[in-house]
Every structure is written in C-alpha cells, then in structure tokens.
C-alpha cells in the first residue's frame, strides 16, 4: 500500500528513539497506512469503531486511581493504573501529550489480561492506530474487544 509522505515522517517518530525506547510499529513489516487500514477492517468485522474502543478503555481508566492498586469494576474486572513522572508526545505530531501511565485490566471471568498506556487511547481515538504487531503496547482489536467486552 502506498502511503503519504507525512506518514513516512510519522513512521520515523514511531521508531525506537525519538519518543520512546520501543518501536510503536513493533516487528510489523507493513507500512503505517497499511496497519491502520487493516485494523480498521478488523474493527468493521467486529462491528466496532475506534471511538467505541477508546470510550471503553477510557471508562476503565477512569475507574482506577493512580497507583491505588487493583480496583474491582462491574464485579469482574480488576483494573489497575500505574502512573509515572513525565509525559509522552503523540508520534503523529499533533501536539498531544499523554501522562506516562499504564492501565492493566484483568477480566476475572475469562482469566485474561490486557494492558495499555494513556497514549494508546489517543492513538486509537484520533488516529485509528492500534500499534504494529510485536509492539509492546499493540492493542489487538479482537482480543481486547473480548477481554473488555466491547
């Protein structure tokens, strides 16, 4: 898939170094445009939108106090928020900055766990970007939809 020059520049931001010690694209060999496009198709198959995802993730984030330990939400989700000093810039160069925070949700009924950062919510909501395969904060749409019951 061809991609626009600005996506090439954004890809550079996503590589290890400029913003984080990990690569937002992971080991994915597809282009940024292709990753976004294919995840959009996946969402369509699931009958969801990126907004649905972000809204559900934000719901859980709001239920967990910073470094407050696991909180039980809706009787079956254990939600924990670890917050760090500092902020991280959005690699799409839109001037958005997210607190450095990691949210962990365990669906106790399913016995399955998902993890994301505050930045993930913005990347999904504003850019439809779930990160590349193999990236530490890759949000696998079908798995996250299952665990978060979206």
């Amino acid at each position: 898939m061809k991609q626009a020059p600005d996506f090439l520049r954004i890809e550079e931001n996503m590589r290890t170094g400029p913003l984080a010690a990990h690569d937002f694209l992971g080991s994915d060999e597809r282009s940024l445009a292709a990753i976004i496009y294919h995840d959009r198709l996946l969402l369509e198959q699931l009958g969801l939108t990126a907004k649905d995802f972000a809204q559900r993730m934000r719901y859980f984030s709001s239920k967990a106090g910073a470094d407050a330990g696991p909180q039980i939400v809706d009787g079956k989700f254990a939600v924990e928020r670890a917050e760090y000093i500092g902020r991280i810039l959005c690699p799409f160069a839109d001037n958005f900055q997210a607190p450095k925070a990691v949210i962990t949700v365990v669906n106790k009924e399913l016995g399955k766990k998902v993890v994301w950062s505050d930045l993930n919510v913005h990347l999904i909501e504003e850019h439809g970007f779930f990160e590349g395969e193999g990236a530490p904060f890759r949000i696998e749409p079908s798995f996250y939809a299952e665990v978060l019951e979206i």
Binding site: Q3, A4, P5, D6, F7, R9, R15, T16, G17, P18, L19, A20, A21, H22, D23, A33, Y37, R40, G65, A66, D67, A68, G69, P70, E80, R81, E83, Y84, I85, G86, R87, I88, L89, N95, Q97, P99, K100, A101, V102, S117, P136, F137
Partner: protein
C-alpha cells in the same frame, strides 16, 4: 475506503506544503551569528542562528532547566523575551498562563534564534554547571526502582539545596538513535558534595530510564547538568508534611536529612504511598530515623496490600492516610513529589485540610 484515501490525500498535500516551507527555511534563511543578551547584559553569547534558545545556550554551558530534553512536554524551560519576536506556538500554550504570554514568557525549547535577542532568566541559571560523573554504585531498591551513586569528577563538587534535581544525558544504546536529557531529583544529602545519588523508577518505554536501568554499569561515565529547581525547603513553618510515592521519595529524603543535620526545631511527618509491599523501599532506613529523632514521624501506607504482605501499617490511598492523620493546618507546610495523579489528589486533600496553596510546594513534571 474513499474516506481513508481522501484523508491520506489531504494529509499528503499538507505535508508537502509543510516540507516545502521547512526546506525553504533551511536553505534560504541563513540567520548567521546572532547575539543573545541575558539579563540586561549580565552575559552575552554569540550563537549560530536557526537553533532553539535552549540548545543554543546549552552550547555555551548555560543550562535552562528542561526535564523533557526540549520536546515541549515539561514546560520548565521558561524564559522572558524582552522583545516580542513571534506568536506563541500551540506547543507552548498548555504551559503558559495568559499573564505569562502577555509578559513575554516563552518556552526556550520552542523559540528559534533568528536574530539578536534579549532575554531574562533567573540569575541562578547562570550558575548551573555541567558535570562529568562516574557511576560508583547501583543498588536495586525494588523491582523497578534503582539507586545510582555518582562520583563527581569534573567539577568534583556540587553545591545544591535539598530537593533540587539534575539533568542526566543518556547515550545511544540498542536501536535508540537519539541522546536525550532527563531530570532526576538528587536523593542524597547536600552535605555530601563529592557524590550525588539518584533514585530512578523504570518507565515502560522510557528512553533515559531504560538507559539507566538496563545499560549503565558501575564505572561508566555520565554527563549531567545542575542543580536545578525551586523545590526546596522554605522558612516559616514548624511542622513539615512530606508526601511522596515511588521515586518521588528522592527529593524528600535529603530535605529530611538536611533538617535533622541542621538540628532545626521543626516537626516532620513523612507520608509514603505504595501499592503493595514490593513497592516499598527505605522502610528500615526511615524507621531507624524515626526511632532516633523524636521530631520525625514516618507513615508508609499501602493502597493495595496483599494478604502475603502481612501489612499491619496504614492502608488506603496516601491522600486518605494524610486526611486521617492531619487535621490542623496551623503552622504547616507541605512538600509533595510523585506522579501527576498523586500530586493532584494530594493538593485536593491539603486544600480540604485548610493548608493554603502558598504553603504547598511540589515539582510536577
């Protein structure tokens, strides 16, 4: 699909235009040598135009505080422009109040030097030095927090106030192709001038914390600048409340040690919040201080204690614990250090207790 292609096309057009402007700026604008006049001529430096004020001054060993290394995510590098030079950028707006904008305050990392400038900065910035240091000892405090003891080589001593921080430069490692500079509070007492200690929590994906935790070894040399910061002890209170979580303990420890060493007649209560026992550190250290000094009280608390922790101390969010233990605001000052969420929560609690904002101090990176 058509929407996607349209978005891509518009993005492409915008990018091509931006790239053209950037290229034209680079190739056609030769700003030559520009003079930066600091504090009414206290210091003047000649710099090659085109770079930010922050980096231009750093080349002349004038270090403006910056916890993010110039990415406009910390808002610390404020300078006052004597002349209006250009409109405030969107990247700066979140960090500047209307009053600051009106007064000519800008972020030094976002303003490029394109002509002679006059700026005002706090005088102490001119005394900040760059240091070479050797890693003398690395101590694992918890599963994600390490203490680094750095022997100062050149200059061999640093004078600092308890609570201040230094900026450490990372080096290239692994696939990281960019050196960054990050702020870390000094966790050792100011009486020890020949070495400093830093307490660093590993941030998932953090460039500098990953460098320090996973790539720095005993004997390695590091470059750092400092001391920086206005988070230090103030006069005028007889009961100091310290609230910290995680590596936020770092600047609090030297404050407590400084007061004890100077035998100041002040009561101190240190609230330290953690999730579970595995997140606690320095417990024996502070309990020992508590046993030896009647004016010091140490209250660690766990917000998510597990049965295996066998914890019989305070439980709950650290702010809840503060509210349970402090009720009278009279004669009190509060010093906070931790994550932004903890700071915000603590500010709310202290406000409810009745401690005025003018008596609360914190660094919020």
């Amino acid at each position: 699909m058509s929407v996607f292609v349209t978005v891509l096309s518009l993005s492409s057009l915008a990018t091509i235009l931006a790239a053209l402007v950037s290229l034209a700026d680079y190739h056609l604008n030769d700003y030559g040598v520009c003079t930066i006049n600091i504090n009414g001529g206290t210091r003047t430096v000649d710099v090659n135009g085109g770079s930010s004020i922050l980096s231009s001054l750093a080349k002349h060993k004038i270090f403006i505080p910056s916890a993010c290394g110039g990415k406009a995510t910390c808002g610390l590098c404020k300078v006052t422009m004597v002349d209006t030079i250009s409109p405030v950028l969107p990247t700066e707006e979140p960090y500047l109040t209307a009053k600051e904008i009106e007064g000519g305050v800008r972020l030094a990392c976002q303003v490029k030097v394109k002509r002679d400038l006059e700026i005002l900065i706090p005088g102490e910035f001119l005394t900040v030095s760059q240091y070479q240091a050797k890693v003398e000892k690395i101590t694992k405090l918890t599963y994600d927090i390490k203490k680094f003891r750095l022997r100062l080589l050149d200059p061999a001593q640093m004078e600092f106030k308890a609570g201040q921080y230094v900026q450490v430069d990372s080096k290239l490692y692994g696939a990281v192709r960019e050196e960054v500079s990050r702020a870390y509070s000094i966790s050792s007492a100011p009486s020890d001038r020949k070495a400093i200690e830093l307490v660093v929590r590993l941030v998932p994906g953090g460039i500098c914390t990953t460098f320090l935790h996973e790539h720095v070894k005993v004997g390695d040399k590091l470059t750092l600048a400092g001391p920086f910061g206005e988070f230090y002890l103030r006069e005028g209170a007889d009961h100091l409340i310290f609230i910290a979580g995680g590596s936020g303990l770092a600047p609090i420890r030297p404050m407590i040690l400084d007061i004890l060493k100077r035998k100041l007649d002040k009561k101190m209560t240190f609230f330290f919040g953690a999730v579970s026992r595995k997140d606690l550190f320095y417990v024996d250290y502070f309990r020992d201080l508590e046993a030896r000094y009647p004016n010091f009280t140490y209250i660690p608390a766990l917000s998510g204690a597990k049965p295996e922790d066998e914890w019989d101390g305070e439980e709950g969010l650290i702010t809840e614990v503060v509210a349970r233990n402090i009720s009278d605001p009279e004669g009190k000052q509060a010093y906070l250090c931790g994550s932004p969420g903890m700071i915000d929560a603590a500010l709310g609690t202290l406000r409810e207790i009745g401690i005025g904002a003018e008596h609360i101090y914190y660094d919020k990176f």
